[in-house]
């Protein structure tokens, strides 16, 4: 009931506003926008495929190995680095004239252009797949299923392909859907790596239309492109749902008590994983730190040129109250949405609509969604933090929903039945039985919403009012000055809450499993 109300309030109302305005604006797609749609589709599809492979492999290697907590945090770190930073770092590290080009003469061909966009997007989307699959591994692919496969004489590879991966299907598909939506919505990466190559995407097109011109026609085009985005993502999500539904199978009865196989997990896999994480996360983070510590852009990052001035400049003015507000907002949104996700998981019937519904608003670009929310709730909530919170809830619902749904699909029906038969009502069952078993998944969902929340720029900078400035407002102020050293310092500071949250979640996860 509450969920339905939430769905109406957070998704249906804004979407209806969006559609109504689009119809009114009556813009048409021209050749340029058509190219942008094609470009977005191309890179997002490719990035999703890469992210699904990397995220799934990463989850299998991490979770089945010793001491997974460290790798777990490392894998989530790309999410705490702003995408545009990764893009810039990738170009500087691996582009022509970049670090590896200078040192060993190797440059990734096409790094500036679609290839680079796909790679960096994939790095940013892989943690989504990873988190969902890792959570699902804990509940769905129980060790005894693999033991049974091995005892049947099947090689570990065959067991992986025929038993483990199919069981993880819903999580893989759900993660893929999220990865696709995130990629379609990504602006920072194509802005850095697409523009120099003249590669158009929907998001860069929307940004340009809004930033350069205030004409009704341009705004109509923004709305139309937003609707196109929603449409594309919805088609992808519905398709994913169908695949996932086919793959979903209830894990029957009998609590497992077959001991774990002692097969040592592939050491080579872990090696690869560390290299991957070093290249994709370590290098950008180091580059970011180096820039932030350097007195002026273009100077060599030697100790002689080091300074902390950039940090104090980045954190000047009303940064603290803004940061407090942002953290609180992100944490609140993450908590509310985790509860929504859990509630959907224990609902009497798991509904078909929840996946696409939540994905719909996730697909709307921040600027358009903020406009829609303002249209819908502005008259009552204008300039309040509540309005920003509504926008966050609408935008990030899919992250929490997906994370939990992937594991909930396998929640043992009997575990819930047993609680009900023991006299526990819905609420107690949720709190004592469902919540703990879904804790890894809920924690993953919470972390995702929180990370996206603190890095969200567009919506909160568009919806704030006097006294409700968030970190986004501050960040954009700093960015507009265009000094990359200060911007980097701020980005470094902004990774801190994300890292802390990731470490906390990884530890909880370990205790729960």
């Amino acid at each position: 009931m509450v969920l339905v109300a939430a769905a109406v309030g957070l998704v249906v109302v804004p979407l209806v506003e969006l559609l109504a305005e689009t119809a009114e604006a009556g813009a048409a797609l021209d050749a340029g926008t058509g190219g942008a749609v094609g470009g977005s589709l191309l890179v997002s599809t490719a990035a999703t495929l890469v992210a699904v492979v990397v995220g799934t492999a990463g989850a299998l290697i991490t979770e089945r190995g010793p001491r997974p907590a460290v790798l777990r945090v490392a894998f989530v770190v790309p999410l705490v680095v702003p995408p545009f930073v990764s893009a810039v770092a990738a170009a500087r590290a691996f582009g022509s004239g970049g670090l590896t080009d200078d040192l060993v003469g190797i440059a990734v061909p096409g790094l500036v252009g679609p290839v680079g966009i796909v790679l960096v997007m994939a790095v940013h989307a892989a943690p989504l797949v990873y988190l969902l699959v890792a959570a699902s591994l804990a509940t769905r692919a129980r060790p005894e299923f693999e033991a049974a496969g091995l005892a049947s004489g099947a090689s570990p590879r065959r067991v992986l392909g025929r038993i483990t991966l199919p069981l993880l299907g819903p999580a893989v598909v759900g993660g893929g859907a999220l990865a696709f939506a995130v990629s379609m919505n990504s602006f920072g990466i194509p802005a850095v790596l697409g523009i120099p190559a003249g590669f158009p995407t929907i998001t860069t097109r929307i940004y340009g239309d809004l930033a350069r011109s205030a004409s009704d026609e341009a705004f109509g085009r923004v709305l139309l492109l937003s609707v196109a985005l929603v449409g594309i993502v919805l088609v992808a999500v519905v398709a994913a749902e169908r695949m996932g539904r086919r793959a979903t199978a209830v894990v029957p009865g009998a609590a497992a008590r077959e001991p774990l196989p002692r097969t040592p997990p592939g050491r080579r896999g872990r090696g690869f994983l560390w290299v991957y994480l070093g290249v994709t996360t370590g290098v950008p983070l180091l580059a970011l730190l180096a820039t932030a510590l350097t007195r002026a852009v273009g100077l060599a990052p030697w100790p002689g040129n080091w300074t902390l001035a950039n940090f104090s400049e980045a954190w000047s003015g009303p940064a603290w109250p803004a940061a407090t507000r942002s953290l609180a907002l992100a944490a609140l949104a993450a908590s509310v949405l985790s509860v929504f996700g859990l509630a959907a998981a224990v609902g009497a019937r798991r509904s078909r609509w929840s996946g696409p519904v939540t994905a719909a608003t996730f697909a709307v670009p921040g600027s358009a969604l903020a406009v829609a929310v303002l249209l819908a709730y502005g008259p009552w909530l204008r300039d309040t933090l509540l309005l920003v919170l509504i926008a966050y809830l609408a935008k990030f619902w899919a992250l929490a929903h997906r994370s939990i749904d992937g594991s909930a699909a396998s929640l043992e029906q009997e575990a819930v039945r047993a609680a009900r038969a023991a006299g526990a009502g819905r609420w107690r069952t949720l709190r004592r039985i469902v919540l703990p078993s879904l804790l890894p998944a809920a924690a993953a969902g919470w972390l995702l919403v929180f990370l996206f929340g603190i890095h969200e720029l567009t919506m909160s900078s568009l919806l704030y009012g006097p006294g409700t400035e968030t970190l986004a407002v501050h960040t954009l102020n700093v960015q507009q000055l265009g000094d990359v050293t200060v911007t980097s310092a701020l980005a470094v500071l902004l990774t801190v809450p994300g890292l802390v949250a990731a470490v906390v979640v990884a530890r909880r996860h370990r205790r729960a499993s």
């Binding site: 009998a254 609590a255 009900r420 038969a421 006299g423 009502g425 039985i433 078993s437």
Partner: protein, 345 residues
């Protein structure tokens, strides 16, 4: 007095198939009714319907005189006050044994400390008092089953719904479990509906036994009723070891080859009869060739090939023949099978 549980015309469909089909059954207060049926006959489904885990298509279920399913009503499981033991235990992976057993008590409002104390007592009585901290993954199958049983006991239900509650228990643990359920029933007057495929268990435990076949109840009666007077060959085989012979009877005697043997229960004419192993003995005028022997501890099962069909006898250690021997035997009692239902495979 209203029965503790009563089902009337209950039909349940799962995945498109009719799994229960017009089930009528009543369990009186304090009564133990065993559902005896082969694998797949619908025992679990019937218990699930009573607990409210599955809805009924048609028919009604009342618990303690209150309509809980059917006729447009549906009372959720937590308000039916039943204690369920799941065939597959359904333990919660994240909870230790003590917390698991304390759960229903806490749900009923017992303070945590008190709930855990009482849970500890129950675990103790089931012989797993020292495993209170263990999660299911750290328990053996039988230990898990006992935790499941303890949880049902802790909820102090009006009706126990026990789904093969002792399948993984050794005789000693089983005896302890049965005793505990009996004690609770004696104290509270709770009824019990027990699903099992083990005829010996059902006959020993039940006040009445209901035979379930493909979702229909084919016979309900006291243990001796269903054992001594099965409605057909299928029911006879389900309730215990039996031989089904086709014999000619004449004036209360059975004609076996040359011998005409007066036998309790015999009627007139050619008919199929049920012969329990203890209703016959080695030594006698009838002839048979020993086909197989199986040592069972207290007795040895001997199968004879006779003109009337295969005959199963139970022999004590003293005089066991060898396979291939031709031996004499005699029936002492038979039960004519009126309707000729098929034998279960």
């Amino acid at each position: 007095m209203t029965p503790a549980v009563s089902l009337a015309g209950v039909e349940v469909r799962l995945g498109g198939a009719t799994v229960l089909d017009g089930v009528d059954l009543a369990v009186g207060h304090g009564e133990v009714v065993c559902l005896l049926g082969p694998s797949g006959s619908g025992k679990t489904t019937l218990l699930s319907a009573v607990a409210g885990f599955v809805g009924v298509e048609t028919g009604t279920i009342d618990v303690a005189g209150v309509r809980v399913s059917g006729g447009g009503r549906y009372v959720p499981p937590e308000r039916r006050n039943v204690g369920f033991v799941f065939q597959s235990y359904a333990l919660w992976p994240h909870l230790g044994a003590l917390d698991t057993v304390a759960f229903p008590l806490e749900a009923a409002g017992t303070p945590r400390a008190e709930a855990r104390r009482r849970a500890a007592t129950i675990l103790e009585r089931l012989g797993i008092g020292d495993l209170g901290d263990r999660r299911p993954a750290e328990l053996s199958g039988g230990q898990q089953q006992r935790v499941g049983l303890a949880r049902a006991l802790a909820s102090e239900p009006d009706v126990f719904l026990l789904d093969e509650p002792t399948a993984h228990l050794d005789p000693a643990a089983r005896a302890a479990a049965e005793e505990l359920v009996a004690a609770h029933r004696a104290a509270s007057g709770a009824a019990a509906l027990v699903a099992t495929h083990d005829a010996a268990e059902a006959l020993g435990l039940a006040d009445r036994v209901a035979l379930l076949r493909d979702g229909r109840i084919v016979q309900v009666g006291s243990p001796t009723d269903v054992y001594d007077r099965p409605v057909d060959a299928w029911a006879a085989a389900l309730t215990g070891p039996v031989s089904v012979l086709t014999v000619d009877m004449r004036d209360g005697a059975i004609v076996l080859g040359d011998a005409v043997l007066p036998v309790r229960g015999a009627g007139d004419g050619r008919s199929r009869v049920a012969l329990r192993p203890e209703w016959a003995a080695l030594g006698g005028p009838a002839r048979g060739r020993v086909v197989s022997l199986r040592f069972r501890g207290p007795h040895t099962d001997v199968v004879l090939d006779t003109p009337a069909g295969r005959v199963l006898l139970r022999v004590r250690e003293a005089a066991i023949p060898a396979p291939g021997d031709v031996v004499g035997w005699r029936p002492e009692r038979v039960w004519p099978l009126g309707t000729a239902g098929p034998l279960p495979e």
